[in-house]
Amino acid sequence: MTPVLTVRDLDVPFGDAPGLVGVSLEVGEGGRLALVGPSGSGKTSLLRALAGSGAVAGGTVRVAGADVTHLPPERRGTVLLSQRPLLFPHLTVFENVAFPLRVRGVRGGEVRRRVEEALASVRMAEMAGRASASLSGGQAHRVALARAVVGRPRLLLLDEPLSSLDPSLREEVRRAILAVQAAYGPAMILVTHDLEEAGRSAHRVAVLLEGSLAQVDTPEGVFRRPASPAVARFLGLPNELPGESGPDGLTLAGWPLGVGPGPCTRGGPRTAPQAGEPPHGPVVVLFGTDGMRIAPEGAAGLPGRVRELMHHPRGVTARVEVLPASGGTGETGAAPPLTCEVSVPPDRHPVPGEPVTLQADPARLHVFAE
């Protein structure tokens, strides 16, 4: 089956700067791709280039097999839904939603039927006669969504549609987006900086870093098997420690972790990392607060000392200084002490200064060759 969107080696300039280079991706029929990346990484520029509203320096964009790289926005069969609803203030809700139909020459009862259907899909049918300027933020977003799909575009591009909404409206609009996609079936690219939103809304996640796509995978693949330290850092893993990988397993700060190489991921420029042998030699290990935990007393593991405790809505974490394998406190040496933030089990109540032992969860360590 021909993908709805095929992007090959697309270069998108940022003004005079090189911008994005060599972006390639595909979205299939009914697929939902979340485009994530830090601020300024070019997510919106890429989306605008796909919509025909932004410059393209090279490469091709195909929609349903047709090359639309140099076509104006109105001839692409795509609709970009901006962060702001951008409703036409001089038109009613009905006329706003009817706009894409009217400019395509659809007339009479067909317009009414399709507009009512689109408004019903976002639960705004009763607001059809209202002035668009009188709508609340969430209502305006839902009307904009109905307007975006009423013309049955093949591809719907959503540029951070939820970011300007408060949390309660965010959920409402997110549901509306998924409902209209189910009803109208366009392929969808959703730009967001919210990883949770990406994980909940998309079938696949594309990570845009430093001018190119660093990883495209399922949400689970990206979150559990980041393809590079840069992706892992973008995911917000708070801990990054130097280590060594050898035939006997992994050592961290000179201490054997007691875990084999088996489930650890390894780095490399791949879009879908697979479980396997980590590289032998110096490595960098990234992990979240769930990558290590404070072990029961007497257990073997990485010795450390609690520096501070941090309380979160979902539990307690501790910043632990890892004691060097050569002995000492780690505070007198030339190198700064290694610390990491780890989760504290509910039954443990350590205090700052208390010696503890850390145990690694090998499935949650991300090991990359240095």
Binding site: G52, S53, P73, V79, S82, L86, F99, V103, A148
Partner: protein, 288 residues
């Protein structure tokens, strides 16, 4: 005696007692109130005198409301195509034409200027400002030389084009301000929704700019309506607008006719001010 503050824009003070007044009270005549009434008298008195003279045909001391020596000039206007009505018609035609053309021309010019970079934008704005800032007589003499060579001297078309020069300057600068804050993303949104460029113009841009367009047209109308030097120099006294006639009647000592003409000149601005005040009261215009 305490007087309420009647100056528009005065904020209501919090009432000190149980009686909500909604007005700030002064222990005596407030300077602002006195100033307001002085300004009102200063502005309206000449118009009142014009009305008396125009209606009664003259004003001789010590008569308070003037005498009625002959046929009032208003009846000339009502009675047929007299000199006043002819001049009024010419002025209206020129002002409407100037307003429409200046509004329609100022929009693309102002937009083009707004889209330019810093230095070119400043140069363009300066060029638009030149006919506005230049003394009308200097502008008129320059235009007269040009229009005479083009064979437009003494023609209505020549006067219309001459009026357009300062009017376009005003409306271009006006639209430069409008497009400095106009959100072009809404036009881009229309294109992304399938509208071709001409559909964006007709269905989005022009309806959104309806009010600025009307205001620019009114601006052009007023520039033409009050124009004297350009009309005299380019029209060569063959194009008889109301301003030219009023000037001639005044010089000839035909005070009642001059007064009636002057009142006619004052009517459109007064009507527009009233309309603007009404729009503000209805909340159609928000004063920041």
């Amino acid at each position: 005696m305490s007087l309420p503050a009647a100056v528009p824009g005065t904020h209501a003070a919090a009432p000190s007692g149980d009686r909500p007044t909604g007005r700030r009270r002064f222990p005596g005549p407030a300077p602002a109130t006195l100033l307001f009434w002085a300004l009102a008298v200063w502005t309206l008195l000449p118009l009142a005198v014009l009305a008396v003279v125009a209606w009664s045909g003259g004003w001789r001391f010590p008569t308070l409301l003037g005498a009625s020596p002959g046929t009032p000039p208003w009846s000339q206007l009502a009675g047929g195509w007299g000199p006043l009505a002819g001049a009024l018609g010419m002025s209206l035609a020129l002002a409407v034409g100037t307003g429409v053309l200046a509004g329609a021309g100022g929009l693309p010019l102002g937009r083009a200027l707004a889209g330019l970079g810093g230095r070119w934008r400043a140069v363009g704005a300066g060029a638009a400002f030149l006919p506005v800032a230049a003394p009308p007589l200097a502008l008129g003499v320059g235009l007269q030389f040009t229009f005479l060579r083009l064979g437009l001297g003494g023609s209505t078309l020549g006067v219309l084009l001459a009026h357009l020069v300062p009017a376009l300057g005003y409306t271009t600068l006006y639209f430069l301000g409008v497009f400095a804050v106009f959100d072009e993303e809404i036009e881009e949104e229309a294109r992304r929704l399938g509208a071709r460029p001409h559909q964006v113009l007709v269905r989005v841009t022009l309806p959104l700019l309806r009010r600025p367009l009307a205001e620019a047209a009114i601006l052009g109308f007023l520039v033409s309506w009050a124009q004297v030097p350009l009309t005299l120099l380019v029209g060569q006294a063959r194009v008889r607008t109301l301003t030219v006639e009023v000037l001639a009647w005044t010089q000839a000592g035909q005070d009642p006719l001059a007064a009636a003409g002057a009142l006619c000149l004052a009517l459109p601005p007064l009507a527009l001010m009233a309309a603007a005040a009404l729009a503000v009261r209805r909340g159609e215009v928000v004063i920041p």
